[in-house]
């Protein structure tokens, strides 16, 4: 506890290409709590098409307005991800990270039906080694995810499309579990475990 001197998740850099080349199955993107949260939200956006207003509404419903005053404050929080293009703030408070965790899990619960639907299709197709793109719900999701990732993240060129597909599917399955009771706690644990490299 005292090992974290203040309640700010310090700025960390993710030197993507080098780690990425060494072990293509490991997701360095998830080793930053800030990037992980941003990506989980991005996966939700890609699947459901929710706008930042919907995110803000959910935050409001959870009584977290103080962290999500407007779209700008949401953007700023997400912009703290070291993967993001452009300049933004570098720090994210623990409280902000918790607030984002709660919002993501609440949204995941809200859209659990759609997440289930996508995973059901994924389970149908995967064993048959068929292209996931033949199922509209998966095709849309994969495309949107790819598009959003390339729009927002720097060094996206360094990430192969097949890797990005795997990352997006992992995030999709993760979202299902975050929609469970105690999902927020699971996500919170996962954030820290990833960041500690466990």
């Amino acid at each position: 506890m005292s090992s974290r001197p203040n309640s700010v998740i310090q700025s960390e850099s993710v030197s993507l290409p080098s780690i990425f080349m060494d072990s293509p199955d490991i997701a360095p993107q998830l080793q930053s709590i800030k990037a992980h949260l941003d990506l989980a939200l991005l996966a939700l956006e890609a699947l459901t098409g929710i706008s930042s207003d919907a995110v803000l509404k959910t935050a409001q419903r959870l009584g977290l307005e103080e962290f999500f005053g407007d779209r700008l404050s949401l953007w700023r929080m997400r912009q703290s991800s070291p993967l993001r293009k452009g300049k933004g703030r570098k720090n994210l408070d623990i409280e902000e990270a918790q607030a984002l965790t709660l919002v993501i899990c609440s949204l995941a619960r809200q859209y659990q039906g759609k997440i289930r639907q996508a995973i059901a299709k994924l389970e149908q197709l995967s064993p048959q080694k068929q292209s996931l793109h033949q199922e509209p719900i998966l095709a849309d999701y994969l495309e949107h995810f790819h598009q959003l990732y390339c729009e927002r993240m720097m060094q996206w060129e360094a990430v192969s499309p097949s890797y990005l597909e795997k990352l997006s599917l992992k995030l999709l399955v993760d979202l299902l579990f975050y929609s469970a009771p105690n999902g927020d706690r699971r996500l919170w644990i996962a954030l820290w475990d990833h960041s500690l490299g466990r």
């Binding site: 959870l62 389970e123 890797y163 599917l169 299902l176 699971r186 919170w188 996962a190 990833h194």
Partner: protein, 382 residues
């Protein structure tokens, strides 16, 4: 000690869990229902299985560990579409992701509401590295009276009352009450002496009850005391309500009432309960603590002492702390030194034992928990 057989069931699209179990009377002090002697049947996908409490416990642990490991994995390589859960000695469940998820949800819902009271079985013992005997000296048995003619007054231990200006952060509240006895080893008399309430608890008819050190429950509390509010949030220390009108006057302490505003507490003795805490090899403190619970209850049962006499507030709080610790396991997980939490706990218990101290709680766990929970009360913002 009457126990009711109850049925529970949980449903998800791919999974159904039905169970029957005895409800422990300890449940009334705790936010969760405590179950014993459980039998269950489960359908998940096309698999069906039936079993007893031990099997369900094994399944719960196996699924929780699997899901945790799965979510914590950084691997994005092959997408797992078949999940093999090994549990028990030879058993395996092969599940799709949706089946795994539904099973996970059903078990989480169940463990959120209920806790299993493990039986102390001789066969478990060899698995333990050693045994740590823990003395819980139940300090001071409060007896009190309210003079006849007064209207019944509901007495709550001070703990559950949240501060006015802050949302209730129950672990903190518990900490406050533990603070005085935590590190020091006070003489029992001292620790059990009535102290004035910080914020005097004004009760409708002007009567104030000093209940700082001792819970005031009637000797018939197990049957006549109101069970704690089932809607209480899990982390909150349980409230004990009692009706003074039903208190059996204990013959040897006529209370000299000082004025009309306070009921006096008198220490009539000290009871010791010896508890064996398993010093488990793995950091499976949840189970260790559950064992502690079970043994406490077994003791209480065997000694045929009424719970109101032997469970003072401290003990209730210990049990509550255990609940909180169980519930909030996640906060510990983020901490680097969580791995030796059980060792810390055992060491502390041993230390306290050596000093012949009066009260013991899973301190290593609990303090850690409190510090983290205070800093990052995720549940509190919900």
């Amino acid at each position: 000690m009457s126990q009711l057989l109850q049925s529970f069931s949980y449903h998800q699209p791919e999974c159904e869990l039905s169970l029957q179990a005895k409800v422990s009377p300890l449940s009334q002090w705790l936010p969760q229902t405590i179950l014993a002697e459980l039998n269950f049947s489960l359908r998940v996908g096309n698999s069906r299985l039936k079993g007893n409490q031990q099997l369900l416990e094994e399944l719960i642990v196996a699924v929780a560990n699997y899901v945790e490991g799965y979510l914590q994995s950084d691997r994005v390589g092959e997408l797992v579409s078949r999940h093999q859960i090994s549990y028990g000695r030879w058993r395996k469940l092969e599940l799709t992701t949706l089946q795994l998820f539904d099973l996970h949800v059903v078990l989480e819902e169940f463990t959120g509401q209920c806790q299993l009271l493990p039986k102390i079985r001789a066969s478990i013992r060899p698995a333990w590295l050693g045994m740590v005997a823990v003395l819980i000296a139940v300090v001071g048995v409060g007896t009190w009276r309210v003079s006849s003619g007064e209207t019944p007054v509901a007495v709550r231990p001070e703990v559950p009352q949240p501060l006015l200006d802050s949302p209730p952060v129950p672990p903190k509240a518990s900490k406050d009450s533990f603070e005085p006895t935590k590190k020091t080893t006070p003489a029992p008399e001292k620790s059990a002496q009535p102290q004035p309430l910080k914020p005097a608890d004004p009760i409708s008819n002007g009567t104030k009850i000093q209940d700082e050190a001792i819970p005031l429950t009637s000797p018939t509390a197990p049957t006549s005391g109101e069970p704690s509010d089932p809607a209480m949030i899990p982390e909150e220390p349980p409230a004990i309500s009692t009706n003074p009108a039903q208190v059996d006057p204990v013959p040897n302490q006529p209370q000299a009432r000082t004025g009309s505003v306070s009921a006096k507490i008198k220490i009539v003795g000290m009871r010791k309960i010896t508890v064996i805490a398993p010093n488990t090899e793995e950091p499976d403190y949840v189970k260790a603590i559950a064992q502690l619970n079970a043994q406490l209850e077994a003791k209480l049962d065997r000694q045929k002492v009424t719970i109101s006499e032997t469970i003072p507030r401290e003990l209730v709080l210990i049990l509550t702390a255990v609940k909180v610790a169980n519930k909030q396991k996640l906060w510990l997980r983020a901490e680097p030194n969580q791995d030796n939490a059980v060792q810390q706990m055992s060491a502390l218990l041993q230390e306290v034992l050596n000093q012949n101290s009066s009260i013991v709680l899973p301190a290593g766990e609990y303090e850690l928990l409190l510090q983290i929970a205070e800093k990052h009360p995720l549940g509190g913002t919900k």
